[in-house]
Symmetry: C2
Subunit: 251 residues, 2 copies
């Protein structure tokens, strides 16, 4: 039979609060949606609800911006408290232009605003930060689902980033557990006998992008289950997807 | 019911030759695979077979490299005839480093080697080029499938490119027909009433990435059918996904 993959969006996950047992909420939603969770499923979880469960939510009112944050905020017409949070989450500033602040986060991700985001959070004055260690977040979700359901799955924590050279954002993997995030074809032969030299596919990013197709940004579907794709098992992490500055042609 | 998308990889597409009726081959494969083609399907077609059908295949033996191609090839340890083809397909060179030649193609795509590629083609001496106008290629496939089957679908022509900042390649949309490639959430409210300010999702790139999950690089599955995702209809094109140099923070 031809290869076939299905992606299910999970509706009905309640508002996630700090300390919530997120894996349990995911299992319950998967059952309510008539999908369940099976061995070899890849579960893609939006960063936003992971950050909520881990209390990576900050009120702008609690923040005192530094002088640099105030200067930068004025230049780029942003809230200085928001800029302060962006700087605290950053390892370095990659580019500032036309109101965009592109940073390298402490994890190594290059993205706008260090992944700090105002959308899909209750409260006018509130922003979410990326999880401290999204690979560890993915591992914990995976282990807890195994503990409750006895299934062996892979977990991806995803966030939506912009790209150089192309318009629009797509979902990327920021945390990975239970799978190898990159499929390496180097040294393998194509059907014509040509030995592939440079092809490595960022499969975890493609899974995250596929999940976004059912998630949307305003439809409250923060979890997708991808079934039928058999991930290559191993102790993978999203850190493998980060191009070091030495190997980056564009920094 | 929860949103549900399925992706079917089409096996059994024969070796594509110049002038072949590719849409007919896709329809026959969809039927042999028991999948068929339905209204609102998104059909993702690998650039490679589109280029074969359009005779965008070149023998290196036919090429006389320019002096610049010879110099560049020597510096980057590449075949000067290959470099000549890369230059002919390029509008400008974006970066040359460590044996990588990153160009902006005549279409505006920023990618390695102007999209010129040796894999998955018969013949040692042969490379494929991107279609001259991949949007037009997608439009022709869409129209012909409508003509034969009477179904209204969207078509994406995809290719695999690397990214700045991240390891590994993913599938991108290089041609689009019958759908809007970017979903614009700007001005819409999230479920908490926050008005989204910057969120535009490159949905055609996410569909291309999702298709790659069933395609692989060595498995001879050059077409995927994505069912259950209702694309927003319109006269879209992959050109909309190209960030102009004026709006690019990284050129």
């Amino acid at each position: 039979m031809s290869p076939r993959i299905c992606i299910y969006g999970l509706e009905g996950i309640p508002e996630v609060k700090p300390g919530d047992d997120l894996p349990k909420l995911i299992i319950e939603a998967a059952e309510k949606n008539g999908v369940g969770i099976m061995d070899d499923d890849v579960i893609v979880v939006s960063q936003k609800i992971v950050s909520k469960a881990e209390n990576r939510i900050i009120r702008l009112g609690e923040i005192t911006p530094s002088d640099f944050a105030i200067n930068l905020a004025e230049a780029e017409e942003k809230d200085p408290r928001l800029v302060e949070i962006i700087l605290r989450e950053a390892k370095r500033i990659v580019r500032v232009k036309d109101g965009h602040i592109i940073t390298e986060t402490r994890h190594g991700f290059v993205c706008a605003n260090s992944g700090v985001d105002k959308s899909n959070i209750p409260g006018d004055d509130t922003v979410s930060l990326l999880p401290v260690d999204p690979d560890e977040s993915a591992r914990r979700i995976r282990e807890r689902i195994r503990e409750i359901k006895g299934v062996d799955i892979a977990v991806i924590v995803s966030d939506t980033f912009g790209r150089a050279w192309r318009i629009g954002q797509v979902n990327f993997a920021v945390g990975v557990a239970g799978m190898i995030p990159i499929v390496d074809y180097r040294g393998l032969n194509d059907p014509y006998g040509y030995t592939l030299k440079v092809t490595t596919i960022a499969i975890a990013d493609e899974l995250a992008a596929a999940a976004e197709l059912v998630m949307g940004k305003i439809s409250k579907i923060p979890v997708a289950i991808i079934r039928g794709f058999k991930p290559i098992r191993g102790e993978g992490s999203a850190k493998e997807l980060v191009r070091s500055i030495e190997k980056d042609l564009f920094r």
